[in-house]
């Protein structure tokens, strides 16, 4: 069997999972299934599934709108309705989609939320986003406030606070909306499957330690995190998806193959970089191609940790169900303080033998972006590796200037190459 065909299999499976999920959502009104809108960081998918509730993730819808070329129109509509041009374009894209009939990425109309689960994790805008949606849908809303890991660790007080909210606020709200009693064993079962899938995901992400890397951990990585970051964590399908993905990647390693890019397999890995920050979705392929054209592979990225920092060791734990859900929320990447984020980046640079760090800074996301320049300097200081800075946005095409980004990327990779070429000389001249 050819690699391309096997590659297709995990991708096809994911596509099918998503299609089925949206079909189910599309039929939710008739089938009587209830849905809960929530966010990727701090998502409580296992808990929702334990109540047979269907998750809807507006962030994913927004990025899908970006990839499908709809976001410009949606954002424009939201701005016309009085939303500021200065604020997060995910929010505006979502509002615009809602005002345009709430047609989801697969063409089906999304059901209105039966509950807004405001998991306030690592992003201030989430609070405003669901306050805005609450006005639109008049849906019941439950707040889960996840405190910030300001000192680089989860304190017992923080965990206690989150668990108390889960017990006394979130679970009762889910019971009300589902009409079902909380069954902790059902939750444990989900968490057990989550942990297994998480093992496989981590294995896949860490496969990038190989030379050449069999995967691109950013552009390819956003596909790999799809199921586990969205509606499927804890499901049997997710478990199978990650098992299959792992096998495919193992085979690529055995054959010494590099990652697949928009133009086919990467022939020669010239640069290995770490990327901090979310991708741009409106020009996703073009952006990816700019890397591939330079022979650059992203070997580690922080964006693939916004829905959980599994590679740093966290696993969902059926023996501590609520505590581990709390730790999961508290540990999402954007809930980590800047010094910890710098540590993570430096660790990646080392662990993945990277040539340098590129920061892709998006206008929309201050949680990611504010302070990235300070992080950049710190990583440069500590690792001595070349760093580069790119700016655009998540889903607002007005902020993606291809020529500008290409110019910076080319300059960056040429700088890396030049430094690399010069390195032996300086070493030779050293005593």
């Amino acid at each position: 069997m050819t690699i391309a065909a096997r590659k297709d299999r995990s991708q096809e499976r994911q596509k099918q999972m998503i299609a089925e999920h949206f079909q189910r959502l599309g039929r939710a009104r008739e089938s009587g299934e209830k849905c809960v809108y929530t966010f990727v960081p701090g998502n409580l998918t296992e808990l929702l599934r334990a109540f047979d509730l269907l998750p809807v993730l507006p962030e994913i819808n927004a990025l899908q709108s970006g990839m499908r070329g709809k976001s410009r129109e949606y954002i424009g509509l939201a701005e016309k309705l009085g939303h500021s041009e200065d604020v997060c374009t995910y929010v505006k894209c979502d509002i615009g989609m809602l005002k345009s009939g709430n047609i989801g990425p697969t063409g089906e109309r999304l059901p209105d939320p039966d509950l807004l689960l405001l998991s306030y994790t690592g992003c201030f805008t989430f609070l405003k986003w669901f306050e805005l949606l609450r006005q639109e849908y008049r849906a019941p809303t439950v707040m889960l406030h996840v405190p910030y890991q300001a000192d680089g660790q989860i304190t017992p007080s923080q965990r206690e606070y989150v668990v108390a909210q889960l017990k006394h606020k979130v679970i009762p709200a889910l019971e009300r909306v589902s009409g079902k009693k909380f069954d902790i064993d059902k939750l444990r079962e989900q968490l057990r499957r989550s942990a297994q899938a998480e093992d496989d995901l981590v294995w896949v992400l860490q496969s990038a330690r190989h030379r050449p890397s069999p995967i691109d951990a950013y552009f390819g990585g956003v596909y790999y995190i799809g199921p586990i970051f969205s509606a499927f964590r804890g499901t049997q399908e997710a478990l199978e998806y990650y098992r299959e993905l792992r096998e495919e990647v193992a085979e690529r390693i055995a054959l010494g193959l590099g990652p697949v890019t928009p133009d086919g397999p990467l022939e020669r890995e010239k640069f290995r970089v770490v990327v901090e920050g979310p991708p741009n979705w409106t020009s996703f392929r073009e952006f990816w191609k700019m890397f591939a054209d330079e022979g650059a592979v992203v070997v580690a990225s922080t964006y693939t940790k916004v829905g959980g920092t599994y590679d740093l060791g966290f696993r969902h734990d059926p023996d501590r169900p609520l505590e581990s859900l709390a730790d999961y929320c508290l540990g999402c990447y954007t809930n980590l303080n800047l010094p910890t984020r710098v540590d993570v980046l430096c660790q990646y640079m080392d662990e993945y033998s990277a040539d340098g760090l590129l920061v892709h800074s998006v206008k929309s996301c201050n949680s990611f972006s504010a302070g990235q320049l300070a992080m950049l300097n710190e990583v440069e200081r500590r690792t001595g590796k070349p760093v580069g800075f790119l700016e655009s946005d998540l889903v607002d095409p007005r902020y993606f200037s291809a020529a500008n980004i290409k110019n910076r990327l080319e300059s960056y990779f040429q700088m890396v190459a030049q430094k690399r070429a010069a390195a032996p000389r300086t070493e030779a001249s050293a005593p």
Partner: protein
């Protein structure tokens, strides 16, 4: 003679620098950028090669023992006439193109003689335009011919009841064609001969040196391109370098002690840190908007109905600088008018605007890692005295006093860096064959 060339295709001008095999600069050429990049490159390169030949002549004369004042006077005279010949050749091409377009005009019976008369007057004026001591506002044919054409056409159109905008439109259409059509390749010998013919008495040493210089066969060993338009340069990808790398290396070549480079060009601002070998260690560029770039000064100049080159000197007269916070080009006009209406003096506002631009650059410098001596300032804005003053003050205040380098040739920094890369490539390409020779022998 083998040479390496670097070409910097910028948003407003295209520059070329030619190096010999010993890595010494032979000549520099500059032209206005245009839609046909290939032509812009050829023109700049041709100009650099012409300068290279002039350099050869100068050396020959020196070797022949001609006194320095004398030979410089000869060369200046020759150069003036040489440029006049170039101008005349282009004027003829313009004349033909104008004639062709004039024929297609609806009222061609009115327009054709008018245009012909304008061109005829331009021909007559040419001598004066290139006379000794004459002040030419630009070295680019487009600017020189354009300003004369429009001035003459306006008068004649008025006189004869033709529509000036239509006559002016003809020029715009024609100059585009003239500029973008490939020129005849190197015509040094032809222009040189014509230039000599115009001179009253040609010293025999000059004639001899010229003939030898014209006979030298220039052979390109390698060409590296850079600049904003580099992606569209007509070279293979491996011959293209980012302008960041070229600016870093070029500044290092001009001032070997350079560690920090600031380049403020028309469209962008770059802060670059280099090591002791001229290798870029980090860089920052301005974000999408042109705030704080040379273009911003252009808007201000338009708003004040001043020439770009007049801004700096006027700002230098300021005694009480006005504080300006916005370097947004969109708001610049409104802000300026408000300031003027508040009674602030033009020079004080301008001083504030220059400082505001430099403050933006200070931010980029800080982002790129600060300012380390020596500090080299390049790009078009480096020619503006008020900007230099403001920069000096802020750098010294915040990073201590240090050597500030500004080269008179700073506009060629990127092209020089590219030429140095080309030189290295040429050497590398040669290296194996040189090694192979003894074995063959």
């Amino acid at each position: 003679m083998k040479y390496s060339v670097g070409i910097d295709l910028g948003s407003t001008t295209t520059k070329a620098v030619v190096l010999n095999e010993q890595c010494a600069v032979l000549g520099r050429g500059i032209t206005n950028s245009r839609s046909n990049y290939q032509v812009a490159c050829e023109v700049a390169l041709g100009e650099a090669l012409n300068r290279a030949r002039l350099g050869m002549i100068e050396r020959e004369l020196a070797d022949a023992g001609v006194d320095v004042t004398l030979r410089q006077a000869w060369l200046a005279d020759f150069d003036r006439r040489f440029r006049e010949q170039q101008y005349r050749a282009q004027l003829e091409r313009l004349a033909q193109t104008l004639e062709r377009h004039a024929r297609d005009e609806r009222d061609s019976e009115l327009v054709r003689p008018l245009v012909a008369d304008v061109v005829e007057r331009m021909r007559t004026e040419t001598c004066a335009l290139f006379a000794e001591g004459a002040n030419r506002k630009s070295d680019f044919f487009r600017d020189l011919a354009g300003s004369r054409y429009l001035a003459l056409a306006e008068g004649l159109a008025d006189e004869r009841g033709a529509r000036f905008d239509r006559v002016a439109g003809l020029f715009d259409k024609s100059i585009l064609e003239v500029e973008n059509a490939a020129e005849d390749s190197e015509r040094f010998a032809v222009f040189a001969k014509a230039a000599l013919a115009g001179m009253e008495a040609v010293p025999s040493e000059l004639r001899a040196a010229l003939e030898r210089a014209a006979a030298v066969v220039m052979e390109q060993a390698c060409c590296v391109g850079t600049g904003y338009g580099r992606a569209t340069l007509p070279f293979p990808k491996e011959w293209i370098r980012s302008e960041i790398l070229c600016h870093g290396l070029g500044a290092h070549a001009m001032f070997p002690g350079t560690r920090t480079v600031l380049d403020i060009g028309g469209q962008d601002t770059k802060a670059i840190q280099v090591d002791e070998q001229g290798i870029v260690t980090s860089f920052q560029m301005n974000d999408r908007c042109a705030a704080g770039c040379g273009r911003y000064l252009g808007y201000i100049a338009d708003e004040m109905s001043l020439g770009l080159h007049e801004l700096g000197p006027l700002a230098c007269k300021s005694r009480r600088q006005v504080k300006i916070n916005s370097t947004c080009t969109v708001f610049a006009g409104a802000e300026l008018r408000e300031r003027l209406s508040l009674g602030d003096k033009r020079e004080d506002i301008l001083a504030g605007l220059h400082r505001a631009i430099i403050l933006r650059a200070m931010s980029l410098l800080a982002r790129s890692g600060g300012v380390r001596p020596e500090f080299t300032f390049t790009g078009g804005v480096a020619r503006n005295a008020a900007a230099v003053e403001a920069l000096k003050k802020l750098i010294f205040e915040h990073y201590g006093e240090m050597q500030l380098n500004i080269s008179a040739d700073s506009i060629y920094t990127g092209a020089l860096g590219a030429a140095l890369f080309a030189h290295r490539e040429a050497q590398r390409a040669q290296a194996p064959s040189r090694l192979a020779e003894p074995a063959r022998g």
